[in-house]
Symmetry: none
Amino acid sequence: METHQQQQNQQAPNDIQDSSSGGSGKGSFLCRQSSTRWTPTTDQIRILKDLYYNNGVRSPSADQIQRISARLRQYGKIEGKNVFYWFQNHKARERQKKRFNTSTTDHHHHVPLQRPTNITLANNKFPTNINSGCYSPSSPSSTGVLTVGQIGNNGYGSITMEKSFRDCSISACGSSTASASESLSHNFGWVGIDPAYSSSYAFFEPKRFIDGIHEEGQ
Amino acid sequence: METHQQQQNQQAPNDIQDSSSGGSGKGSFLCRQSSTRWTPTTDQIRILKDLYYNNGVRSPSADQIQRISARLRQYGKIEGKNVFYWFQNHKARERQKKRFNTSTTDHHHHVPLQRPTNITLANNKFPTNINSGCYSPSSPSSTGVLTVGQIGNNGYGSITMEKSFRDCSISACGSSTASASESLSHNFGWVGIDPAYSSSYAFFEPKRFIDGIHEEGQ
DNA sequence: ACGATATGAATGAATG
DNA sequence: CATTCATTCATATCGT
């Protein structure tokens, strides 16, 4: 996934989108990214993954999407549909990977995901790991937060998303290693099945409670 | 693809590429990620193409992917994702190339093919027809895949002008539509779930955000 | 050695 | 939710 994370278009929290004058890119390629496709910033990815893995958000409702996108907007241009698609894709691909590498006769009974007390940062499952950490995605700042305390706990100490104010205090909740968050989650690559994340039930998922729990344990 | 046909020799079926197939490897001494990406052996490619052209395999299902990768494994290290990506890419590139010469008889259809980058797609490697005999189905001899000749060679004569209208103009409006519900829900905060109200939208489409962009009806 | 090309890998966006 | 398409990045390989 974010093995390399070619993120160069770091839109300011403002709303710039076509600032081609910047030219501060790595110079690898173009800077004109006025394309139609959303290019998530590192911070946005970090938060999205935090929601996904640490908070168990899988299919956020319209409400949540609005809130999430509002929060992510301070890190770059984003729309609700981007958030929607992101979760859809992330979930689908996680499943797909497993599908490729598991036998069809083994659908029932899979290992329940364990609850890691700390993030598994480096699992060298296979020599052929897709990992290629040689690329450093020029993380702007906040490098190496690495708060490996109680990440997925249900104590609720992470996000603090407000309702009306998009200011929020998110404070990046030390969920994962900041800059390493990308390289962190791609560990469960195509062969490694387990996402080293605990999906503690989201405390803010209405549907979870009223609509019945869908599958989430992997 | 065929043009290139890099003959990087076939690694031992049971061994990973030593990263020195060409001789002076890039010296991956301190970095263990020598195998950054899968390098298919000639046998693997042969079989993959056979499946593609002679058997019409285009988008193998997860089940097929497992089976294919299992079979190819005897010719070299391979994973399910490799097979998956191979077919994806092969199909996509073939279509991409075909999209040029098949200019749809110069209709008004202004296909957005511009490439912001300078790399442009100036590959004239496959000007007219990508194949029509390009691939020689020399009997695999070991897999019994029913090598019939050139049935699937151009079996999919269907041009590639199915749906190419994706330029669109995704209006940036987005989030305003669904914000109606949001304005209401923010009263309760999002930790406090209100059962009496929370199940408004179970599922929704990103259309809600973008509000009518694709009108591919006719 | 370098630059161009080919192609593996990744992912946003859509559709069924 | 699964499948697919398009686009782009990264890199292996080849040509000069």
